[in-house]
Amino acid sequence: MPPDADAVVDLHDVVATLGQFPALSGATMRVETGEIVLLRGPNGAGKTTLLRLCAGLVPVVRGTALVLGHDLSVDRDRVRSHVGLLGHQNGLYADLTVIENVRFWAATVGATDAEVASAMERMGVADRLASVSVSKLSAGQKRRTALAGLVARRARLWLLDEPHAGLDQRARDDLDNTLREAAAAGATVLVASHELDRAESLATRMVDIVAGRAESGGSR
């Protein structure tokens, strides 16, 4: 299958290793703009590695990996500024306030104050929470602050690893709505999750990761 330069993510027979351990062994997958794709699979299947590879953090050993039209083997620095990765950590500074954190991440791409305000509004961390130190936030509020940073950075590809972990019911609903809104606005979302009921209801398509290979898991 030839690479598709129009796809947001186009992996063809990609092999990646973590040290000596083969984490992806011939993964092939294509993701189009506006999709919300759920990556399913047991622990150690390669879901996190696949997300980190798409973010340019894990090198491609073999195969072709195009993200946003850029070949990750030669051009991963150009991919990074358009990608937002939210893993098990939020990438926030505990001593700074919510607005200071979002402003910092927005400033890395030269976003305006209006964009910061809009992102915070969308994530529900404006007004009362804006001037609260991140160290005083709940897990859900921290997650929403990190997502506001992604929105303010105008990330085109969102890579989320267990995004619902540690969130209460309301925060999970808010997160899902945010992801649907982001996808409707043109962002593309890849989600790795073990909370299948919730994630399957969110995703437009499922991909099973089995022993480092991507297999179609069906659409909704």
Binding site: D77, V83, Q89, G91, Y93, A94, D95, L96, T108
Partner: protein
């Protein structure tokens, strides 16, 4: 975004974090002060000896404090994965390096002024007006070198297991030339012992070369180091 703008963004963020957390004023400055007092006890509070060795003690206390500052500087990045997030966001690694060097250097400069003041109060050291330019130049060049080394090895150790013990092991041998050069130059500036004022400038040259070498080398190596 240019390297300079990125550096300014990172330095401003680091200084804001320190201003809010008050780690320097509440922990590092007291630690450095206690170190100076303990040096005094160790040398039996002999004023003649203390006056003679004061420049070296000031720089030793600075180096021990540097380790605390660097640990702190990178723990705020590592605690919630912010350094990784910056790399994913495509923030230029050279900008991150220079930003952290600037933030660290400014914190170190404040500390050095306080330590020099402590040497005057505790050890009876005197500061000569004719050595002021040499003193200030020495402090700036030595501080830039220390901040560059600290940032480089702080970044290297940040992703490692046992980073608390790895950092001093990597940093202290590397900053030994700064300890020697800065001590000799400050001795000249203060007229300690038989040191002449003019002798100090060759040490400032060494400190400048050291700072430039670690500044340039560090900026090039920092990206691959934190990517690993």
């Amino acid at each position: 975004m240019s390297v300079a703008r990125t550096a300014w963004l990172i330095a401003r963020k680091d200084l804001r974090i320190e201003w809010k957390s008050r780690v320097i004023t509440n922990q590092v400055v007291p630690f450095a002060g206690v170190t100076m007092v303990i040096f005094g006890f160790a040398l039996d509070a002999n004023t003649d000896v203390l006056e003679l060795v004061a420049p070296g003690l000031v720089w030793l206390a600075t180096m021990f404090s540097l380790l605390l500052l660097v640990q702190r500087n990178f723990s705020v990045e590592a605690d919630d994965g912010a350094l990784d997030a910056m790399r994913v966001a495509g923030v230029d690694a050279r900008g991150i390096f220079f930003g952290k060097v600037i933030g660290l250097a400014l914190q170190l400069l404040v500390l050095e002024v306080l330590l020099l003041f402590a040497a005057v109060v505790l050890y009876g050291e005197t500061i000569r007006l004719d050595g002021a330019v040499l003193l200030v130049t020495t402090m700036i060049s030595a501080t830039c070198g220390l901040a560059a080394v600290g940032t480089l090895y702080g970044g290297l150790a940040a992703g490692s297991k046992g980073r608390e013990t790895l950092l001093p092991l990597l940093t202290l041998p590397a900053v030994a030339p700064v300890l020697i050069g800065a001590t000799r130059a400050v001795e000249s500036a203060l007229g300690t012992g038989v040191a002449e004022l003019s002798d100090g400038w060759q040490w400032v040259s060494l400190l400048t070369v050291f700072a430039v070498a670690f500044g340039v080398g560090g900026s090039l190596a920092f990206g691959p180091l934190i990517d690993e």
